[in-house]
Symmetry: C2
Amino acid sequence: MSEIIPHWLDKQSELSPTDIAIESPNNDSISFLEMRKQSRLFAKKLAFLGVKQGDHVGILSGNSVQMVITIHALTYLGAVSVLLNTRLSSKEINYQLTDGAVTFLIVEEGMYAHGKEALHQLHLPIYTYSEIDRTDWKEVLLKREIDLDDPCTVIYTSGTTGVPKGVIHTYGNHWWSAVASALNLGLNDQDKWLASLPLFHVGGFSILMKSVIYGMPIYLLEKFEVTTAHKAITEKGVTIVSVVSITLNKLMDQIGDTGYPNTFRGMLLGGGPASKALLDRAKDYSIPVFQSYGMTETSSQIVTLSPKHATEKLGSAGKPLLPAQLKIVKDGIPARQEVIGEILVKGPMVTKGYFNKEKANQKLFQDGWLVTGDLGYLDKDGFLYVIDRRKDLIVSGGENIYPAEIEGVLANLKEIKEAAVVGQTDKKWGQTPIAFVVRDGSGISKEEIISYCQGQIAKYKVPKEIYFVDALPRNASNKIMRHILVDWLPKGDMESEH
Amino acid sequence: MSEIIPHWLDKQSELSPTDIAIESPNNDSISFLEMRKQSRLFAKKLAFLGVKQGDHVGILSGNSVQMVITIHALTYLGAVSVLLNTRLSSKEINYQLTDGAVTFLIVEEGMYAHGKEALHQLHLPIYTYSEIDRTDWKEVLLKREIDLDDPCTVIYTSGTTGVPKGVIHTYGNHWWSAVASALNLGLNDQDKWLASLPLFHVGGFSILMKSVIYGMPIYLLEKFEVTTAHKAITEKGVTIVSVVSITLNKLMDQIGDTGYPNTFRGMLLGGGPASKALLDRAKDYSIPVFQSYGMTETSSQIVTLSPKHATEKLGSAGKPLLPAQLKIVKDGIPARQEVIGEILVKGPMVTKGYFNKEKANQKLFQDGWLVTGDLGYLDKDGFLYVIDRRKDLIVSGGENIYPAEIEGVLANLKEIKEAAVVGQTDKKWGQTPIAFVVRDGSGISKEEIISYCQGQIAKYKVPKEIYFVDALPRNASNKIMRHILVDWLPKGDMESEH
């Protein structure tokens, strides 16, 4: 049955009113009580502007205390936050706003300029934070309780088909995710999490949820900046940091001889499989790394290497957290130990489905298990090793890039007959997308193709190189054989700009 | 919606197979993996004897590893544990077995003799642990998953009307209780809880749940024995102890000059309001005491004083745990600060109701809030102070004694016209029951009445003294005025045997 709990921010304001909810480098730290007060006032201003229970409200914003206040404000109204990636193109944002049935958009000041005209074509009410701040407020009944079955957020993930899909997270999904992490990593009075991942991604958002569910301060950065992040650990009492490979490497460049304070507990590493070199380096620095595996659909980590196995099982993503289950399926049946198969997961932190995507939702589950599409195996002790973040998926600086999406954009150019995109290993970003293109004979140039892409998709998705070929390698079923394309790539790592 | 999680003992066996689940003074410690193995085998033996999903299975046993194995075994079968207080009379046990629809009874060897004949009148299958151990086993499908909405235990509480009622706890009630406690007290690798309270009470049972949900070892005592309990803290690494006033006092008698190790985190104090003298004494010894408030219906503590307020708010039971809510109601409306009223609580650890007691269940809730019947107030900072464990309730050595139950027994004696029972302050037990009796003129003696009671109710419920009076003081509505009876008691504390 549906569980009802008190509103979590009300509760932390009651339990620990003066405790810090959010700290940041520019010293605008805010207590739970003050956060509640501001969030509730902001909710009433939004209500004045017409936002009401059940509305899908888009948020286009970089990390800030104001963004957190906005998210909490929407929970007080019972509205759903649709969190938009600020790096997307106007076209992509417009697609998500339409697909996500967003009826009201809140933008950070700087973002407004970003695609003002394109956004206005949607005839949505669009307000910046300060515009809302300046408005009147309306006395409305704010939520005192949270029904864990109610939707809380929609976060878009690019599907393997290349069509972005909005993952619905209930309050319960976020609750269980936070609790599962506490049962794995433990929880103590001194805990302070660094939030340098974008809050619009589930990895960053989950840190905000931990703050309000544990009553724990988080140290919030606008974005990952290595010296600030380093200082947060060495001088500001941060005990746990969520990282991806590239940020972990950068942090280790800073570490020097003194190392981290004894209170530092470790790095929670997500965003794709980590290289052995990276993990060995962390080991050399005596930095505990808790590798994890998760995705937007699982409300962040669902499998994590616990501290006690961090060294012994280097390279493994660990075991499914307590309320979760995992199985490896090969040819329709559970795979034996050490045999690679598809990863399926189940648990109360797993989404109930995508917003408004009936067909995709049917494929998403098998007998209640989420079909991740990722490949991996379990060792003899039941530890998960993820082989491929997802078949063909390109992970670049922690961002997922789906080849099919870029291929779709390329295919729209009439001068292109067909195209295939694969990931090239990259020293800086892990991977970057590379396109193989078959032209129609019109002689379109690399530069023209890249320029076209830049108007369509986020910069990090734009192919870093275009190779013209006569034909794409296909198998008997006419499917592109991507592994052959990978063989065609020049050997050695690239080093590119995002 | 109903949440599904993997079976928690399977899960701990997977996450921490060799970690200790239970330690005890006689060194029969057992790992999670071994606990799982033995519990599953025991389940198959119970299946051979006919126990199946949905059955209500009585357990009449003192604390032991075998009792824990039995409880887990029943969860693997999907059967419900009906936990019987070993101190009850055969008559009381028979009532609970019948009322609780128990179809199979498991008894500890020593208990079997206790009321063998009376028990056999019920024509129930009755087996001792060793009889089950010696039996064959049957291959059955054991539960791999837990549905949090399924019933897990039935634990009897005497109602204010004197009729014992079986509180149904779902798996979810126990889950949320354990998680709520972790969010309040924190959770770390070193934690080890002392379980000296009987597992058949919810306070003891909740420690077992913490063990299997946190993956934490517990140090299990057959019963509270002060030198063993003291040694558990000073030599065996116990970090948290659940106590009632009387056991806390006894432990402090032992503490001496060396005090407790630095790793000791504190005492979780339940079982009724604590005296200021007790709390001051603990403060003198620098023992953190987390006062708490809870009852069988709330799956143990629902309000707890957090470590950080333990000193500042001495005497308070604290604030409702994160997923819980509390309100004080007076004359049908929420009471103001500092005003005494009835305590109502709400949250996912609160029972959905009593087994097979439709009428009582209707009265138990008001708009989804559990009406505790207890009196208390909130101070200006929202901290709860419990005034009366329950109106008229007698708490003796942590055991609840309801006057109406004893009065019912006395009323059955034809030589007694009417009787009323109140609590007398007692140095050793906190309170003991005292009866005021109006005879019919037959001249029945104190000794005859006490002897009669001994055959009907548990020893601790038998009145310690009988006062013969001509009439009971009653008000205009003909209700007995108990406060006048209390005034009639001799002044000063008693010191009696249980």
